[in-house]
Symmetry: none
Subunit: 366 residues, 2 copies
């Protein structure tokens, strides 16, 4: 068992903790987890894990009161596990919660009240849902996920380029079409029955973990079930912590995860954004002699020009400053990317100066 120490307590990585998720979370060290994925129970019936606010018994109350009471009990449970979960998140951590119309509105409101900051709601659109047999409602063909940062200022992880690549070059939308979990992926018990009633497809967790974690991150699932989160985390080179009350589920999950193999390191590298690349000051081009002080630069559209100065600033017609500032001033725009805006003359043709930056970055990589 791989562990990680943070303060006094140890973080039991890649294991399944047995027991109630609220107690188990409270026993873990604060601010130690990068991402939480939670698939909480949503039946509003009173169950062993749900306590009434006053522990009183309900006997022969009218329906309205009973309904209100059961919402109150569910809300209390929700607020407690969300509070425990939020404590475990690193400052830039985030959470995903999945639910249906029975519970997701209560969970979403509790999430906001707890200080989480919603980033998106994402709809899992099932390509093969169960039809509505009685013809009294719409086919319940989707579930809702909420993605939220620990707070409003959380610098959450979002692998924009990787998700865009997953979507054939187009920005990923908030509605995901994915099939439900069937066939070989669906785990069975000894009797041949499904091992868990609501096993989530690995494709769903794949997209979530690729999009909002990096390799080596710690992912916590407080309602682990048969361990889809752990299995996909392992494949993707992330560490997981699972919490599950039911021994039967833990056993299935344990066996399942043992048989999973991590993908090659190469396969785990995803498309990265320009933002992640090292910053190159424009002045370096001058220092290195790629551009000379006094040399003229031309705007991409050919309408403007400006002169390079020795300190890496530009001077143009009544404006001077950085490549970005002068470009923005000329275009009367709020901002401007000088790297793609300005060109130098090479063999009589205009070439964007970004070419020179790329040369420097290539050198730096060696």
């Amino acid at each position: 068992m791989k562990t990680m120490t943070k303060g006094a307590a140890a973080l039991p990585l890649n294991t399944i903790i047995s027991g109630d998720c609220i107690e188990a979370m409270n026993a873990l060290p604060a601010e130690s987890v990068d991402l939480i994925f939670a698939d909480p129970p949503y039946n509003l019936q009173l169950r062993g894990d749900l306590h009434r606010p006053d522990n009183s018994k309900v006997d022969a109350v009218d329906d309205a009161w009973d309904q209100f009471s059961s919402f109150a009990v569910y809300d209390k449970f929700t607020r407690e596990w969300l509070k425990a979960a939020r404590r475990l998140l690193k400052p830039n951590g985030a959470i995903w919660v999945i639910g249906s119309y029975h519970n997701i509105f209560r969970v979403g409101a509790a999430l906001q009240d707890a200080g989480f900051w919603i980033l998106n709601d994402v709809v899992w659109r099932k390509s093969n849902p169960m039809p509505n047999f009685r013809g009294k409602r719409f086919t319940n063909a989707h579930e809702t996920m909420i993605w939220a940062g620990k707070d409003e200022n959380s610098k959450y992880t979002f692998n924009y380029e990787a998700l865009k690549a997953l979507n054939e070059g187009i920005q990923m939308r908030s509605d995901w079409v994915l099939p439900i979990c069937t066939g070989h992926e669906r785990l069975k018990d000894e009797m041949g029955d499904k091992a868990h009633p609501t096993q989530k497809p690995e494709s769903l967790l794949h997209r979530i973990l690729v999009g909002s974690t990096n390799p080596g991150d710690v992912v916590l699932d407080p309602f682990f079930g048969t361990g889809t989160t752990g299995a996909v985390a392992k494949m993707l080179g992330r560490d997981f912590i699972g919490i599950e009350r039911e021994e039967a589920y833990r056993k299935v999950a344990e066996k399942r995860i043992k048989s999973v193999r991590k993908f090659d390191k190469e396969a785990l590298q995803t498309t990265t954004s320009k933002r992640a690349e090292p910053r190159v000051p424009f002045g370096q081009l001058v220092e290195r002699g790629m551009l000379r002080p006094g040399e003229e630069l031309y705007s991409l559209n050919g309408r403007y020009s400006a002169k390079v100065r020795a300190d890496g600033t530009l001077v143009g017609n009544e404006v001077k400053g950085s490549i970005h500032q002068v470009g923005a001033a000329y275009e009367k725009a709020p901002s401007c990317n000088g790297w793609t805006y300005w060109c130098y003359k090479k063999d009589g043709k205009r070439v964007p100066i970004d070419i020179l930056r790329q040369q420097i970055r290539a050198e730096m990589a060696n």
Copy 2:
């Protein structure tokens, strides 16, 4: 003005009431309305300006009516208008509310607490949403609607067969793909600017009203805006009551609804028969306004014609049914591909309706 008396007060049908929706609703008689459609403020909390990559500025929804100082204030407002709305519903009435992740979880929880019984959450998947310009989140490509009965025992209206027909024989799902409101349908003010920042498409209301009301039903919209609910209600032979605070919106809505024509009685009769099941539902052409209920279609050979109905069926000379069924009946053939058989008139020329299906397929490919 058509009115209806129920108890002491009169019901102002097919008019727009001026003023605050809570006060206005409290002045109306209890249990007098069949359906409520509500598009309340979303409580967007926008901070700075947002620019597109081309430096143009996004026209944000920064209207005063969308500003609330806290979740608590928003919740109080929500619970009050929901309470007033619920009082107006007949015992078997129902409500639809639309929102985004900013407000829908709070609205949904309040709805449940008020005693409404959620029947489905329905996702409006936008075929052409605004992208995420900074690459920091998923494209916000959907909005969520909640459909709920007045209480758990409400015998709500659900025109299962009509919706199934609209979806060409396949049970209607909880996710609807429809384009946002643009082009001619989007209302403009005298300046040529959009008359309302969040005008909903008529196709959305068409599906809601066909599915959960009957001709002659009373539909209330407490956040009437520019009156999409009223316009579609009138087309479909339902009575409406609108409530709107802003005079500018009321004026636009008034004018809009005046120019709307009710569809033929025949077109409003929805089918009760079962349908065959191809892929792109013909009903979508009607919902999206590509073909209008009551519009005449002509056979490719020019010998026959039939009229389009609101649920996506055709009615002709002694025959009614799907585009395929009516075509087959006319040709005394065992079967017929209605898509290539039927034409609509464009600039006096017959054009096969398959052209329209291809347009939708192009959108769906996105």
